[in-house]
Symmetry: C2
Subunit: 415 residues, 2 copies
């Protein structure tokens, strides 16, 4: 039996055990995991050094090595994050709706764990802990499939998790790590419908696209954010400038940073140059359509492909539009339906924009950078779903739950 199928079976069986653990039992297990990570900090750092050495030998880029690398401080942060998960409300067992039928049947729609969650991810070993902790909290078993670049760290971490769970009411088999990081094990996960209820990719666009394309197991697509700020004719200049700079610059490498700026033409004539020059001063390369190039120095001519590009870098495309309707059309054509903002003092325009723009999150007079599970107050974030099914937008603990109808009767039969 292959490693993936074997661990799939173990995870499925464990899911029935962890699925009915009490909140106290799950929180106790989480506390033991946090304690284990702190106590075994040296073992984790030693294993992590093997990954770093091996990565250097393979010539991995500094930015990937930075994602792989753990430090004492990072391990402390990871353990602290588990303590925060302990404090969150356990969603499992909630009766979301009760339906009482005339025939006396009582139907309780109750919140239950999904069962077995698969997580396929790249370099960062903190995802191993983070995903395991969220799974334990929500009574799910989890199958972790990280990348070869962090395998030593992941093995060390999961060993500690297993030791912690062995001293808790949660069965250690609830957390499974696929040790073989070859392509074949990813492909096997894509077909593991018998044991896996959902597969969540966390990483770059190539990984996510592959999972969406190949997986037969239901996927929650997280990811790409070609986000826009649209500055309407009535926008307050200072607010528009502050939001644009924040949305582009506060952390350019993340999915809720903007990649494109749309400006209403009259507003552009008055204030456009100031905003765009401020971006350029901060080191942003600006790709503009013709009126922008004509008016503002140092702007490069945008190619058609720029409107659909997620730079994740100090670059931005800028387009002049006639009105809010053109802005909406442009966003619905080129956006990735992630986070979109309008800056306006015209209530009607804000209302139309909120209604017509197709995205997980639509903002009026605020930065797109707030699309985040912690900023939304969920206390945790599994990822940001960009699909319409199951969960859309920032996903908290509830995204790892399903429902079960529990029906109580006294002999009812259907006529």
């Amino acid at each position: 039996m292959s490693e993936v199928i074997e661990k799939g079976k173990l995870a499925k069986k464990a899911s029935y055990q962890i699925g009915i653990c009490t909140t106290k039992e799950k929180n106790d297990a989480l506390a033991k995991i946090a304690e284990g990570l702190r106590k075994n900090e040296k073992a984790i750092l030693a294993a992590n050094q093997l990954d770093i050495q091996s990565g250097k030998e393979k010539g991995l880029s500094p930015s990937i090595l930075d994602r792989v690398e753990l430090t004492e401080e990072r391990i402390t942060d990871i353990a602290d994050a588990i303590l925060q998960v302990i404090d969150l409300t356990d969603p499992i067992g909630e009766v979301m709706e009760t339906i009482e039928k005339d025939n006396g049947l009582e139907i309780d729609n109750t919140r239950v764990p999904i069962g077995v969650v698969g997580m396929i991810y790249e370099a960062r070993p903190n995802v191993t802990v983070d995903a395991a902790a969220l799974a334990v909290k929500t009574g799910n078993a989890i199958i972790l499939r990280g990348s070869s670049s962090a395998i030593h760290s992941n093995l060390a971490i999961v060993k500690i998790i297993h030791e912690a769970l062995a001293n808790s009411a949660v069965v250690p088999d609830a957390v499974q790590l696929i040790e073989d990081t070859s392509r074949e094990t990813a492909s096997e996960l894509f077909r593991l419908n018998d044991y896996l209820d959902v597969l969540i990719p966390r990483g770059g666009k190539t990984l996510i696209d592959t999972v969406v394309r190949e997986s037969r197991v239901p996927v929650i697509e997280t990811g790409a954010g070609n986000c826009h700020v649209y500055i309407d004719d009535s926008a307050k200049p200072d607010m528009a400038k502050a939001i644009t700079l924040n949305a582009k610059l506060q952390r350019p490498s993340v999915c809720n940073a903007i990649e494109s700026l749309l400006i209403q033409s009259d507003w552009f004539d008055q204030y456009g140059e100031e905003v765009i020059s401020a971006l350029i001063e901060k080191g942003v390369t600006v790709y503009g359509d013709t009126p922008v190039v004509d008016k503002v120095p140092l702007v490069q001519e945008a190619a058609n492909t720029d409107w659909g590009t997620e730079y994740l870098d100090l670059k931005i495309s800028v387009k002049i539009v006639e009105d809010v309707y053109e802005a909406i059309d442009h966003i619905n054509t080129y956006g990735t339906k992630h986070s979109e903002a309008i800056i306006t003092e015209t209530a009607d325009h804000a209302s139309i924009f909120k209604q017509k723009v197709d995205a997980t999150t639509v903002y009026h007079n605020a930065s797109t950078r707030f699309t985040d599970g912690f900023e939304f107050g969920f206390g945790a974030e599994i990822g940001i779903s960009t699909q319409k099914l199951h969960a859309r937008g920032p996903m908290g603990l509830k995204a790892l739950t399903s429902n079960k109808f529990i029906v109580s009767g006294d002999g009812q039969i259907r006529e």
Copy 2:
């Protein structure tokens, strides 16, 4: 451009129009569709006769021909069903949750249409109307891909729907019928991620399995029901017998009918023969394990494959188990996680069964036949989801919705 891509694009564009129609506009469109179907009854029946003739020439089975066939009465029923949809509450626009942040941001999690729904289905032309009506009610565009056996009926019906929508506020492009019913158009739908948000298969196991296996578009899996009744040691004999007969016989061809009966051994010694003989008297072929064969005449020896078989017919497998735990293990091993019932007077056993059995719907002292959107009071049923994501169990209008976070600020940026 292929028919599927062309209609995908039209549907996507139309989804932005129908998505913001008011409840009144959508209900008015539905009323016009119902009126159109009634007025054009003769045209529909004439087209349907072409399908029936063609089906007879191709040698389709009487049961398939019955599913294809329309009558005046069936058309009336179909039109009446639309009027019922009009009466349902429109789920779109509901603010499900409001989050107020310390920084003044107000975050409304609002219910929105999914966008473009794909429905891939078999013979029955009533699904064409049913699916279109539920899509219109929920502000979704829909792409219908029926089977060749009902293509003339489907073309006639969609022509009428388009005429009705042309006289309404809903754009006719919101309802698209794929006219080419070759395998290629199904395959194209599986890859239509740019224009299709979800694909729902309705039909037999082969169709559903194909869609789950092949589709890159997110799927809602509906379907297979290998359902059980477990009779516990304390079960009231009359209740156990009545529920078993009802769950098996009231409509054997549907997914929430039972395929397997589990009986606690002591109860079996006292009352088993009576229940099983009653099934046999009603024409049911019984496949039992050895103790059942030994004790009850006319029972055939069950093969191992029987425990996992969905007969959808007057057949049942019967197994003797020692206790509720063995029953739960058997159900979680062989069941399809659809609908499962325990008959018991022991509260603890009922509680364990409800908690541990992994299924969309778990019953205590009631027939599994109640797993149904109408019986649950949803007023409509898209299908019964057997997956854990998005929707599980009977799906009403809400299963055709997603969410959007609408955030209002006054210049907030992220620190």
